[in-house]
C-alpha cells in the first residue's frame, strides 16, 4: 500500500491549516458563504438536509486497518456512530459540525488520509478495481497509476476551477470492474503488439441528465506519457468546456458537441507541445511508486485446503457464503472475500463504528492489514488464506457482515436520497430496503441469480442507475415521490445506457414492478445460466414492458 513520504504529509498538513483558517474566516464573517462554499467543498464538506456532511477520500478504494479504525474513531467521537460507503469508494459522515471539521481532518491526517478534492469542480478521487493486485485476470495492478494521478491532480493550480467536476477511473483487467466507460476519463491498461503495457484512453463518459458512454481517443498511450496526456485533455477541457450552463459543463458535452475526433485532435496538438516536458514520467519515479504496491508476502500453499473443504461440507450457511461472496485469487491457496454492507432490509453502504473495528481487526489478522471499498458500496478483504475463511466468516457473521448476497438482487446500490441529500427528489433507501426484504429469501435470490439494481434519488445519478441492469430513478411528481425504471444498462467492458421502460411508478407500485420484471425474466429465460441481462438482451424490452404496463 502507498505510504506518504514527508512531502505528501506536509502537503496534507498545510492544507488542513489552510482550511482551519478558512473556517475561522467564515465564522468571523470575513468570508461570505458564497466565497466559503467552494473552499469547503474542495475539502469534502457539504451541507445536507440535517447537517454538514464530510466525504473522505479513500484513494482508489484501498485503505489499511489503522485508517479503518480512525473512521470508527471519527464516527464515535464526532458523528453518530456510523459512516456510509459510496459508489466512488469514498466514505461519508453525515453529522459533523463545521467547527469540528478542522480537527477531524487532523485526525485523518494522522493516518495519511484527507478529504481534499472530494467535491467541487476539480479532479476528484481516482477510482479503480476493488480486486486490484489480487485478481487473476489483471494485466497489471492499476493502483500505482492511480497514485501517480492522485499526486499530479492534488491542488493542481491550473485545474482547480474547471467547468465541472472531473472523475477518472482506471482498470488493469479486461473485465472492467471500475466502470471506466462512464467516467470523464477512463483508462484501461492494455498491451500493444510489441507486448508493451500502456493505456487505452476514453473520454466523455458520464451520467446525470445526459448519460453518455466514453469514447476512445487514444488506443495506446505509453505509460511514461500518462501525465502529459492527461494534462493535455484537462487543458483543452478547461479552456473550451461550456461554462454558460452547469448542466452542459461536463466534458461529455464538449466531446459530444465537437465530436470525439475533433476533440482527440485538439488533445493531440496540445500533447505534442508538452509531451517531453517535466511531466514525462521518469522510470525511477514509476518504480518508486510501484514499489509500494508489490504483492504482500504470500505463503506458498497447496491448491486444496482440507480444513476448508471440511467446513464447507459441514456448515451449509458457510458454504452459501463461500459460493457467493468469495472470489478466486491469483495466488494459490488464497481467496478474495467480499464483505456485504447490504444486510436484508438494511441501509446500503452504511457501517457502524463497531463493524469498522471488526473489519480492521480481521484485516490485520487475515489479510495483511489491507481493506478495499467497492463501487457497489461493499468492502473487500483481498488476500485471505482459504484455510482462514471459516474464521473470517464466523466473525463477519457475528457482526452482521456476512450476508451471502454479493452480486445478487439484494446487493442493491442506493444513494442517500431524500433522507439526507439536499438535492434529492425522492427517497432511495426505504425503496432499497423494501426490495431487499421482498427478495430476502436466500433460495429465491439464488434462483434469480446475478442482477444489479441501482437506485438514485435524483437525476444526478450518484448510483449510476443508468447503467444498472435495473435502474431506478426517483422523480418528483407534484410533490409525490415517483420512480422511473430503466432496463438493460451495464457498467462493465460492454458498457451501455439502460432504456427507460415507461411512465413513472408510485412508491406503492414500484416494488411490485421490480418483482414483475424478475418474474418475467424467470418465465422467459432459456436456462438458469442465462442471467437477467442476457435474457433482456436476447428478447428486448417488449416482454418486460408488457408485463409492467400491459400490452398497448
Amino acid at each position: 500500500m502507498y505510504k506518504y513520504d514527508d512531502y505528501d504529509q506536509q502537503l496534507v498538513d498545510e492544507r488542513i491549516e489552510q482550511f482551519r483558517d478558512q473556517v475561522n474566516r467564515r465564522l468571523s464573517g470575513e468570508l461570505s458563504e458564497e466565497e466559503f462554499r467552494p473552499l469547503r467543498l474542495m475539502n469534502g464538506v457539504y451541507l445536507q438536509l440535517h447537517a454538514y456532511m464530510l466525504r473522505v477520500a479513500i484513494p482508489y478504494g484501498t485503505m489499511n486497518s489503522a485508517q479503518m479504525r480512525q473512521f470508527a474513531y471519527i464516527a464515535r467521537n464526532y458523528d453518530k456512530g456510523y459512516g456510509h460507503f459510496t459508489t466512488r469508494q469514498n466514505i461519508q459522515f453525515n453529522w459533523p459540525k463545521l467547527v469540528d471539521l478542522p480537527d477531524i481532518l487532523t485526525e485523518l491526517s494522522k493516518v495519511q488520509m484527507h478529504a481534499i478534492q472530494t467535491s467541487g469542480n476539480c479532479i476528484r478521487n481516482t477510482t479503480t478495481d476493488q480486486y486490484a493486485g489480487a485478481s487473476f485476470d489483471e494485466l497489471e495492478d492499476p493502483r500505482p497509476w492511480c497514485e501517480i494521478i492522485r499526486q499530479w491532480s492534488t491542488m493542481h493550480p491550473e485545474f482547480t476551477y474547471l467547468p465541472r467536476k472531473f472523475k477518472m477511473a482506471v482498470t488493469g483487467a479486461p473485465n472492467d470492474r471500475a466502470a471506466v466507460a462512464i467516467h470523464d476519463i477512463g483508462l484501461r491498461i492494455r498491451r500493444d503488439e510489441q507486448g508493451e503495457l500502456g493505456f487505452e484512453v476514453m473520454v466523455g463518459g458520464g451520467l446525470g441528465r445526459t448519460p453518455m458512454i466514453g469514447k476512445t481517443i487514444c488506443e495506446f498511450l505509453p505509460k511514461e506519457d500518462l501525465l502529459s496526456y492527461l494534462e493535455a485533455i484537462l487543458r483543452v477541457y478547461n479552456q473550451f468546456g461550456r461554462r454558460d450552463n452547469k448542466y452542459k459543463a461536463r466534458i461529455k458535452i464538449l466531446v459530444h458537441e465537437i465530436g470525439a475526433e475533433k476533440f482527440a485532435e485538439l488533445v493531440e496538438k496540445e500533447w505534442e507541445e508538452i509531451r517531453d516536458s517535466a511531466l514525462h514520467l521518469p522510470a525511477e519515479e514509476i518504480e518508486e511508486i510501484s514499489a509500494h504496491f508489490t504483492p504482500p508476502p504470500f505463503d506458498v500453499l497447496p491448491a486444496l485446503s482440507s480444513s476448508f473443504s471440511e467446513k464447507v461440507g459441514q456448515d451449509e450457511k458457510f458454504a452459501y457464503w463461500v459460493q457467493n461472496n468469495v472470489r478466486e485469487h491469483k495466488q494459490q491457496g488464497y481467496a478474495i472475500v467480499n464483505i456485504s454492507l447490504k444486510p436484508i432490509g438494511g441501509i446500503p453502504g452504511d457501517i457502524s463504528h463497531a463493524q469498522m473495528d471488526v473489519v480492521a481487526d480481521l484485516a490485520d489478522q487475515f489479510s495483511f492489514g489491507e481493506i478495499r471499498s467497492t463501487h457497489e458500496q461493499n468492502l473487500v478483504l483481498a488476500h485471505v488464506k482459504r484455510d482462514d475463511l471459516y474464521a473470517v466468516w464466523l466473525k463477519l457473521d457475528e457482526y452482521g457482515l456476512a450476508t451471502p448476497n454479493s452480486g445478487l438482487i439484494t446487493d442493491l446500490i442506493a444513494c442517500p436520497g431524500l433522507d439526507y441529500c439536499a438535492l434529492a427528489n425522492s427517497r432511495s433507501i426505504p425503496l432499497a430496503q423494501r426490495i431487499s426484504e421482498r427478495f430476502g429469501e436466500l433460495d429465491r435470490q439464488h434462483e434469480i441469480g446475478k442482477v444489479q439494481v441501482k437506485i438514485s434519488g435524483c437525476i444526478n445519478a450518484c448510483t449510476h442507475h443508468h447503467v444498472g441492469h435495473i435502474g431506478i430513478l426517483g422523480v418528483d411528481k407534484k410533490g409525490q415521490e415517483f420512480y422511473q425504471i430503466t432496463l438493460g444498462g451495464r457498467a462493465d467492458e460492454n458498457a451501455k445506457i439502460g432504456k427507460i421502460v415507461g411512465a413513472g411508478l408510485s412508491t406503492d407500485e414500484v416494488v411490485d414492478a421490480v418483482e414483475t420484471l424478475i418474474n418475467t425474466y424467470l418465465g422467459l429465460r432459456e436456462s438458469k445460466e442465462e442471467t437477467f441481462l442476457d435474457a433482456f438482451n436476447r428478447v428486448g424490452e417488449t416482454p418486460f414492458k408488457e408485463a409492467l404496463y400491459g400490452a398497448r
Binding site: 512531502y7 506536509q10 469542480n121 491550473e158 476551477y161 478547461n238 507541445e273 521518469p282 525511477e284
Partner: protein, 171 residues
C-alpha cells in the same frame, strides 16, 4: 484600484480605456475589441499599451502581438471561472510572454497562490493597505509543497525525490 506586484502594493498607473472615444496620454489598457479595431492608432501613440482579455477571449488571438504589450490582464469574472489559469500558463510557458501578467476581476486571496503558480505576477486588490498586503503575502505561503511542474520555478515533489535518489545513489 491598487495592485500587488513584486510583494508590494503599488498604485495602478494604467488607465482603462473604453472601446470608443479618444485615447488618453500615458499607459493604457484596452479591450481585445479596441485592440483589434484600433491597432494602428494604438501603436502609433506614445505611451505603453496593455490588453485586457475577458475569460471567453482566448489569448490565441493575440499571439502575434505579444511583443507590443507591457501588460496583459486576464479577467476572472467570477473566481470559479478558471479559464485564465490555462491562458496564463500558455502565455508564460509556451509563448514566452515576459511582461506583467495581471489578474483582474474577482481576485481573492484563496486563489492567489494558484494564480501565482500559473504565472500571474500582478493582482488587482480592493483595499490597498498594509494589512491587505500582509494577507496577500501570507496567502502565497500557505502551501509549500507542490506536485505539478509549472513555469513558476517552485520545486516539485518529483524533482525533490529525484534529488534524494541521486544523493542516496552517490553515498
Amino acid at each position: 484600484m491598487a495592485l500587488v506586484k513584486n510583494n508590494l502594493v503599488v498604485k495602478d498607473s494604467w488607465v482603462k480605456v473604453d472601446d470608443e472615444g479618444d485615447l488618453p496620454a500615458g499607459d493604457i489598457l484596452v479591450s481585445l475589441t479596441r485592440w483589434t479595431e484600433d491597432r494602428d492608432a494604438l501603436l502609433a501613440r506614445k505611451g505603453q499599451v496593455g490588453v485586457c482579455l475577458k475569460s471567453d477571449e482566448n489569448p490565441e488571438q493575440i499571439l502575434q502581438d505579444l511583443s507590443f504589450f507591457q501588460v496583459i490582464a486576464l479577467e476572472f469574472p467570477a473566481f470559479t471561472d478558471g479559464r485564465a489559469y490555462s491562458y496564463a500558463r500558455l502565455l508564460r510557458e509556451r509563448h514566452g510572454y515576459k511582461d506583467e501578467l495581471r489578474a483582474v476581476g474577482n481576485v481573492l486571496r484563496d486563489q492567489v497562490l494558484l494564480m501565482h503558480r500559473c504565472g500571474f505576477d500582478a493582482f488587482e486588490i480592493k483595499a490597498p493597505d498594509e494589512k491587505a498586503l500582509q494577507i496577500w503575502l501570507d496567502a502565497q505561503k500557505e502551501m509549500t509543497t507542490f506536485y505539478q511542474p509549472t513555469g513558476d520555478g517552485r520545486k516539485t515533489v518529483m524533482s525533490l525525490r529525484q534529488r534524494k535518489r541521486m544523493a542516496r545513489g552517490a553515498s
